[in-house]
Symmetry: C2
Subunit: 169 residues, 2 copies
DNA sequence: ACCCATTGCTTGGCCAGCCAAGGTAATCTG
DNA sequence: CAGATTACCTTGGCTGGCCAAGCAATGGGT
């Protein structure tokens, strides 16, 4: 703060003086991920898998390529994650008859059964994170995060929506 | 957005309706990390290592345990990261003569030489992320993130400061 | 009809990060 | 002073996540 102490009195590293918001964002993001991980563990999920399941709950049988697109993840990441989740019985994969390259992914009953739990985790996480913030503050935070997301979207890939719903999607 | 379409028209998964801010935060965090990773790669750093280096630049020779504390990471994570960074010549490790359990860590000259580059990366990232936001919006975002960090701090570990500067720290 | 670019997915390799378990050294306690 | 506890670090094992390289199927161009 003040005084002659040259360094290391602040929580933010001095080399990051050019990006205080980025520092705060990185810290919050890690904490948030940890907090989510703790809650998800009790459901038998690892962090990141909850987003996959949400996508599957919304979309029904989907092509893996669409999951990659909508989650904004690398193809290999999705492949491996789905392999593990299939092995755990959360997910079902089968070749797409219309395109023998593609793989259709679908939540199993066991996977669907997690929905309530995940929704609870997510709500609880929201409540824990935003404690002490009124509705207007929350809306403002959401708005500002949206702006940042738009700024980073072009250079850091996309986490968009389901592009072309062929049927139930 | 409107109409009878039941699902999967929104960018946010419907199962996450209970936590819109958490969804936004998770998305922004991943984009932000990717954007940071792209920039850091050109410096020869992996994401996460820049924070380590910042700490070392600020603190000089530090105990590994203090790094663990200030970065809020797991001890094993720090051990392995430092082993790799030492092998790359960014960092120097030696046993603490005052406590033979402890390890003192210090940036090498090569490690110190990255400081300018990392500062540039961080500033550039800040600028890219916050484009379109005025000073008041930025301050507001920082404030709100601070509140969230405080909320999550107790349950998700700490990323605090250098606790007891023995000398140069 | 054929060749080639594109798309979709997989594999291998690497790093960040977590937990659990273990080993050594310092410190607290009886 | 000896034994128990605590602090510090390391190792192994697992997942998320990335990139690069590779393979198979589709589709477009000539």
């Amino acid at each position: 703060m003040s005084g002659t102490d040259p360094v290391c009195t602040e929580t933010a590293p001095s080399a990051a003086h050019g990006g205080p918001v980025s520092v705060a964002l990185a810290r919050v993001a890690r904490m948030h991920r940890i907090a989510a991980g703790r809650r998800l563990r009790e459901l038998g999920l690892y962090p990141g898998q909850e987003m996959m399941m949400m996508r599957l709950w919304d979309c029904g049988p989907v092509r893996q390529s669409e999951l990659i697109q909508s989650l904004g993840l690398d193809a290999s990441t999705v492949t491996k994650m789905l392999q593990r989740m299939e092995h755990c019985g959360l997910v079902l994969r089968r070749p797409d008859p219309a395109d023998r390259r593609a793989v259709l992914v679908e939540a199993t009953d066991e996977g669907r059964s997690l929905r309530v739990g995940v929704e609870g985790v997510w709500s609880d996480l929201e409540q824990a994170s935003l404690s002490g913030l009124g509705p207007d503050d929350r809306a403002e935070l959401e708005r500002l995060l949206g702006v940042v997301a738009d700024n980073l979207r072009e250079e850091a890939g996309e986490a968009g929506e389901c592009p072309a719903p062929p049927r139930g999607c």
